[in-house]
Symmetry: C2
Subunit: 330 residues, 2 copies
DNA sequence: CTGAAAGCGCTAACAT
DNA sequence: ATGTTAGCGCTTTCAG
């Protein structure tokens, strides 16, 4: 099967390439007769325009690159799904890139994505080497992380969420609360969740204990770290884990050690991806508005691409989901 | 910031466009001096070649489209991650498309993917309208579903997996076993897991009870269906759920009804995605070799694109993961 | 209303 | 070892 060109259609329809192009793009003025002829010819040949050639001219690909740490993580999987859907509705297709916490891979990606292969970029990864696209005048939107002053950020209300979580534990009688969270290059200097945790604990005159793990820490090591948490704080009666995967891990470690949840120990996570809620329905958590975050990010990106004014930062509200890992308030 | 062309670099380096092109592609013979000059010029201008123009010439995009039901599902999220990684290593980028169980969306996608915007396609969705790409001479590989005689399939050993699951329950004393699975256009005529379940049950002279849900059944309705399962079969003592999300759902419904797991009721799921194992570590399941499935699919696609011979069907082995939802064998 | 011709930015013969 | 020239398939002035 040889490649069909505009010319082949033109020849069959007995018109010029220009006319066929006009019919395809519904541009200029055509007689109905010509339109019919051309469309018949296209159908007969099963002709599909060569998108690449079209793009060469318009210099647009209608492709949006999205960088995530890993779609295998339920939160980012769901985020990706909503991003993809929102972009699809605006006529864009999605070039996905799983950074897999590998800085090298992410950098290669960024450099490849330049040269106008994508019309825009949505970034949700941690370990960005900003220099790579420092000079790119590519519209970019970041999700939940500050990249550069001129890149708009869409995030959920991390401070309010962490406050909700911490207060939920305190209200239910916890005295010995530990906060676990993941450190990464984009939050080490300004972690809203940690700040809220510290502030709420201070308000209640409680000691604020914190355990951190690196963003690229492998699962086994992460478990070891949490085992140590229980070794060092056997009297812990409340845990606020900054993501649901860690919360679930802590929950099962605690049960294995004989803690009764929520009687001895209460646990609350963070994220609230749909799949997580279905898999671990008993887990209390802070639900981020994943769909809205995606929708806003796409809207912002579209505005940027259209050269419109965009807010620097967009914060969306979160929700507390109680569950059997928390006591019921009397 | 205006657009940089090969010509700008050539001018700065004091050579011709061709030479710059040769330097970029490391083709032909160049003097080291020229190479240095050109690379300095590129660096100074922060020049990135226009990928679209390159593609117009080669008629290849190095883009592979992948169609999945939803990356928000841990199994497909993980599959996507591995596919992406394997493709990236071969120099391809991934155009992702979440069918979201919407036939209409999937069809629009398929038609857009034609016109040589992607060099190949990996399909893991259920509701394909094959006619759409009937005429496309696009290399395609399917994952876990038969699409057409000339499209190679990569799948895990569904028959062996279901056999393992069913026998695990029987070995542990289950007498009243129910199999739940999802029906979709690609398995209604030949569901290996259901067949294995039927066969093993028959071998043991046990009644084979089956509950099905449609692939596009919303979560709430799915839960209702499972509630009915318990209403109609209160004496159920073993459940083999054909995916882990359903298994987890059944587990929590059962606990809510007062079943002790595994004393009264044993449950085993299917899929074994990493995230699921971390979130619900107690769940016994059949682990599909997701990474290998992805690797093979990519290898097959690469072979197809290279015009090489490829097997029609590739079956990969699965593993039983026991867990606290099964009794321990004495 | 339609066609001829000039590019879009790059690569690959074909010179030199 | 390097430059000149002719396209890749399409869109778009500019004529008619």
């Amino acid at each position: 099967m040889k490649k069909l060109k505009l010319e082949d259609v033109a020849a069959l329809a007995g018109v010029s390439k220009t006319t066929v192009s006009r019919v395809i793009n519904r541009r200029g003025s055509l007689s109905q007769k010509t339109i019919d002829k051309v469309e018949a010819a296209m159908a007969q040949l099963n002709y599909h325009p060569n998108v690449i050639a079209q793009q060469l001219h318009t210099q647009r690909t209608n492709l949006i690159g999205i960088l995530v740490p890993s779609v295998a993580n339920p939160f980012f999987g769901e985020l990706t799904m909503y991003l993809e859907d929102a972009l699809f509705q605006r006529g864009y297709k999605v070039l996905i890139s799983d950074a897999l916490n590998q800085t090298a891979k992410e950098e290669r990606y960024l450099s490849q994505l330049m040269g106008h292969q994508v019309d825009g970029l949505i970034i949700a990864t941690h370990n960005n080497k900003l220099e790579e696209y420092q000079h790119a005048n590519l519209p970019i939107v970041a999700i939940d992380r500050f990249l550069r002053a001129d890149i708009p950020v869409v995030a959920s209300d991390n401070y309010a969420g962490a406050k909700l979580a911490t207060e939920a534990l305190i209200q239910r009688g916890c005295q010995h609360i530990i906060h676990t969270y993941t450190t990464n290059p984009s939050n080490w200097h300004d972690n809203q969740r940690e700040k809220a945790f510290q502030a709420v604990m201070a308000d209640h005159h409680l000691p604020a204990i914190t355990y951190t793990t690196a963003f690229d820490c492998p699962p086994a090591e992460r478990t070891a770290r949490f085992e140590r948490l229980f070794d060092e704080h056997p009297a812990v009666d409340g845990i606020f884990a900054s993501n649901d995967l860690d919360a679930a891990r802590l929950l099962s470690l605690a049960r294995a050690r004989g803690y009764r949840v929520p009687a001895d120990l209460q646990i609350i996570g963070y994220d609230g991806a749909q799949a997580t809620q279905e898999l671990v329905p008993e887990l209390a958590t802070i639900i981020q508005p994943i769909e809205q975050m995606a929708t806003y990010a796409v809207k912002l990106l579209a505005d940027r691409m259209a050269g419109k004014f965009t807010p620097t930062s967009t914060v969306l509200p979160v929700n507390l989901k109680t569950g059997q890992t928390l006591k019921t308030l009397s």
